[in-house]
Symmetry: C2
Subunit: 327 residues, 2 copies
DNA sequence: CTGTTAGCGCCTTCAG
DNA sequence: CTGAAGGCGCTAACAG
């Protein structure tokens, strides 16, 4: 910056003012400075600037698994919101490991991020509170805060699961199996509640033998589905709580070649060309990111002082049907 | 930091030393400082530290489309390499827009990133050279530098396309259509070359009427495929240059219900359960990111002075076959 | 082993 | 409208 100042025959202060767009600079001076900036290819050092003005112009984002299209879209939504406000995004991946998540959050705090968005890996979020305590705003995505107060953006897990299950019941299914994440996972629990509520609403009761709450990936889901479907009293339809489990179920159906209807959370490519009766709970993953981003930015601009109450936003779901639905 | 120093009854300098792990600090002092750090919940200000020591401990990553699983995996690979070396990743999405990419790169440069990895959106990369000129190391991913020298990591586009096409020829196909990106895209051009080379090798010549080099997304690919397949002299197989085009072709096949063999670049979920004869060129997208990350870190640690020659690394491909292959 | 001095590059404050 | 002084929080380099 000194170089630019010398080159333009002004003081460093004037250069600083021009760069910030201060109107109290004579047009001629401004042009001269801009010329020098251009000639020298100068770019202001953000690190130094941030040291002086505080903050960092960055927000942190921690997701559990960037390879899952769901989270990469979420990240894209966050990017979008951040970009609109001139913020940069520091992205990291916790790989579902709570201690790694903890380390990443500390790192972000040390990097002076202006705020962070976290998809929490575990059930307990006490290690996320310190971020808030040190005054760094935090927004949780996909899963609500456990044991702390914080803003969060969720999906209508309950409503979506209930709606999809109801559609299966309307189709005449009376034995609907459940393939879901362990109950410890918030989404798994909520979606199970929805599945159950749809039954109650129709004055039915799910058969516990047709409920599997262990599988977490394609392979385990496939095994669980095979197991369910080989039962002499097998379900005529299955509800799966996420895209990987649905894919496991699809593999099982291919193997057995039985006419079972499938419902599941999360839309996926080519769902329509499989030729299977498929009921999908779809929602806009980008939107979760956008909302979380905006919520965070709100809180950042509110300032550390303002103690707004923790807010919660829920992204709606939509039921889509692929293939023909036999009853 | 001063607070910690006071609390531990030492100077700020000693605190600094403890935090950096300097062994020339008495164990007793160290414990006292650590105690104070803990008591006050202190964390060193990275911004200030970086201003002093130079660099930023961050690398920038610009991809064209994070929603494409290919790029999110690439990002994951970069994360991995960065994490191993204690670097943070500043991620942004250019949405295939060259001017946006340019802005993002400037931003990254201003943020003092230690280096950056870019998946270039356009054909000309002159705007990326300045980054290098200002001494910021840069590595290109997926596409080679155009009009400048730079490190890059590529996929074996040519070899993969050639291998897949050869397999179709071995199966007895003599009329193989081509569905590809515009030739302006490096990958599109290379994959076309591979397709062509496989024909030459077998002393065949592709029929130009069966070559479509315009489509860029699922919808346009579907239309192009329909057009090709409705020809009285229609091809008996199609080679598609990426996952979106392959999906478009799959839709076309579903519509027409003709027994055409498909080959394409990029593996995708459920490819095996479609029940179609499918020849896929697969490769490890994470690996591209990892290599790019390591290459960048190499160059960063080599220092700005060392003028290593530009290096180039190519990730291998593998041909996978799904479904039965009629001839 | 520990403390002092000085300055990284910028911007806020206060004088011209 | 422009400049000079001072300091953001940290750490190299040099004392002690």
């Amino acid at each position: 910056m000194r170089d630019v100042a010398t080159h333009a025959k002004v003081s460093a202060m004037t250069v600083s003012r021009v760069l910030k767009g201060d109107p109290k600079v004579a047009e001629a001076t401004r042009q001269r400075v801009l010329g020098a900036v251009d000639a020298l290819g100068y770019r202001r050092n953000e690190t130094a600037r941030r040291l002086r003005v505080g903050g960092s112009g960055m927000i942190g984002l921690v997701v559990t698994n960037l390879a899952n299209p769901f989270y990469s879209r979420l990240a894209l939504g966050v990017q979008e919101a951040a970009y609109e406000h001139g913020l940069r995004v520091l992205l990291s991946n916790s790989a579902e490991q709570v201690d790694r998540e903890k380390g990443l959050v500390e790192d972000l705090a040390a990097s002076q991020v202006d705020g962070m968005i976290v998809v929490p890996a575990g059930g307990s979020h006490r290690h996320l509170a310190p971020a808030a305590l040190r005054g760094i705003p935090i927004v949780l995505a996909s899963r609500p805060p456990g044991g702390m107060e914080a803003d969060c953006v969720l999906v209508d897990d309950f409503g979506g699961a209930q709606a999809a299950t109801s559609r299966l019941i309307e189709d005449g299914h009376r034995r609907i199996g459940f393939l879901g994440n362990p109950p410890a996972l918030y989404t798994g629990a909520e979606r199970f509640r929805g599945y159950w509520a749809a039954h109650e609403e129709a004055r039915l009761e799910p058969d516990e033998r047709h409920v599997r709450r262990g599988p977490t990936d394609v392979a385990t889901a496939e095994r669980a589905a095979l197991d369910l479907l080989r039962d002499p009293d097998a379900p005529t339809a299955l509800f799966c709580t996420n895209n990987r489990l649905t894919q496991g179920a699809i593999r099982a159906l291919r193997t057995l070649d039985v006419p079972v209807s499938l419902a599941g959370f999360d839309d996926f490519d080519l769902a329509d060309v499989l030729g299977l009766p498929l009921t999908i709970v779809s929602y806009d993953a980008d939107e979760i990111g956008r909302r979380a981003g905006r919520m965070l930015i709100d809180r950042i601009s509110a300032g550390a002082g303002a103690d707004l109450p923790a807010r919660r936003s829920t992204v709606p779901t939509e039921v889509i049907r692929y293939g023909t639905q036999p009853s």
